[in-house]
């Protein structure tokens, strides 16, 4: 253990100069423990300098970061193809149901009474069905985007 009155000055030995340095040097000449402490400080400084000084990030860091950003960006890029396919599929189902209704309705006596009203109702029903399908697909897309 270094002498308590010299310990701080030994830790800052490299920074002290003049009279203070001369005082420490005089003490070091006659105190083996303080000499040993100063030598240990020198070893610490030397080893840590050798280990850490001048350390830099690897040359590949920037390129790796850029690659990761590109990868994440392409993964996040939106595709509307599934939504379009959804729309086509649901549109086909609705069209098929509409055709079936068109084929069945003339056999129902109540509907034969007023063909004009029937045409109007059918057009409204088809339009409504398409709106519902579009709304459903829109909500699904929104949920996907949020996810």
């Amino acid at each position: 253990m270094a002498c308590p009155e010299f310990e701080d000055r030994l830790i800052e030995y490299a920074a002290i100069e003049g009279e203070a340095r001369a005082c420490v040097d005089t003490h070091l000449a006659e105190c083996a423990e303080c000499r040993q402490f100063l030598e240990a400080l020198r070893v610490v400084d030397m080893e840590l300098t050798a280990r850490f000084s001048g350390r830099e990030a690897s040359a590949a860091l920037a390129a790796t970061v850029q690659r990761r950003i590109e990868r994440e960006a392409s993964a996040r890029r939106l595709s509307f193809v599934p939504e379009i396919l959804d729309f086509v599929g649901w549109g086909a189902i609705v069209a098929l149901l509409g055709m079936m209704a068109w084929w069945v309705v003339p056999f129902i006596p109540a509907f034969n009474a007023n063909q004009t009203a029937l045409s109007l109702n059918t057009a409204l029903a088809a339009g409504g069905a398409f709106l519902l399908v579009a709304l459903f697909i829109g909500l699904r897309s929104l949920a996907d985007l949020k996810h």
Binding site: A40, E56, A62, T64
Partner: protein, 196 residues
């Protein structure tokens, strides 16, 4: 453009030329250009700060990558509340602290614990007379409280600049000096003790 409100607040005069360029890009929402300038400018600082905090070069390298991905994602939200470097170092510190917490390796060894001294006694290390090469100072370093480890590593990584250590860790200069002083004393005592 007259009347246009700048995205980034007035840039402080203390900014470096590169930081001004980055601010100009951000002001025009040119995030890619800003990031491309930022990456080479800050990669070593971010790496060293991560190395000082995590204690391993490999982990620091991975962390530096993650930090820059975070910066890239957060860039549109940067409003210039603090300087760019302060913002980047804060992201780095937070990411490192999260990683340390997650990994459960944030050890706070008490200064009263004889961890460092015990290693010296067990290994019978000697100082002087050319024996210094046999001393594994890093092993002693790892026994210190984490804040002492961080400050010591960063001090040597940053070429012994107290100012840089204080800036990167965002600690007062006095704290940095006190921690460095205590850490050096602790290490030197432990190593010297092996020879007494």
């Amino acid at each position: 453009m007259p009347g246009k409100v700048s995205n980034i607040n007035a840039t402080p005069a203390s900014l470096t030329g590169m930081e001004r360029e980055i601010h100009a890009c951000l002001d025009q929402k040119q995030y890619r250009e800003a990031f491309d300038r930022m990456l080479p400018e800050f990669q070593n600082k971010v790496f060293r700060l991560a190395y000082a905090m995590l204690g391993e070069a490999g982990a620091a390298e991975d962390m530096a990558q993650d930090v820059f991905i975070r910066i890239w994602k957060a860039l549109p939200g940067y409003r210039g509340q603090s300087s760019l470097s302060t913002w980047i170092y804060a992201i780095t510190r937070n990411a490192c602290l999260s990683a340390l917490r997650k990994a459960g390796i944030k050890r706070e060894v008490s200064m009263e614990e004889p961890g460092v001294a015990r290693i010296a006694e067990e290994t019978g290390l000697t100082v002087g007379g050319g024996a210094a090469a046999g001393i594994d100072v890093l092993r002693f370093l790892r026994q210190l409280p984490s804040k002492y480890q961080q400050v010591l590593r960063l001090y040597y990584l940053e070429e012994k600049s107290y100012e840089e250590v204080a800036r990167l860790l965002e600690w007062p200069m006095g704290t940095v000096k006190v921690y460095l002083h205590r850490a050096r004393k602790e290490l030197a005592e432990a190593i010297a003790r092996g020879n007494i």
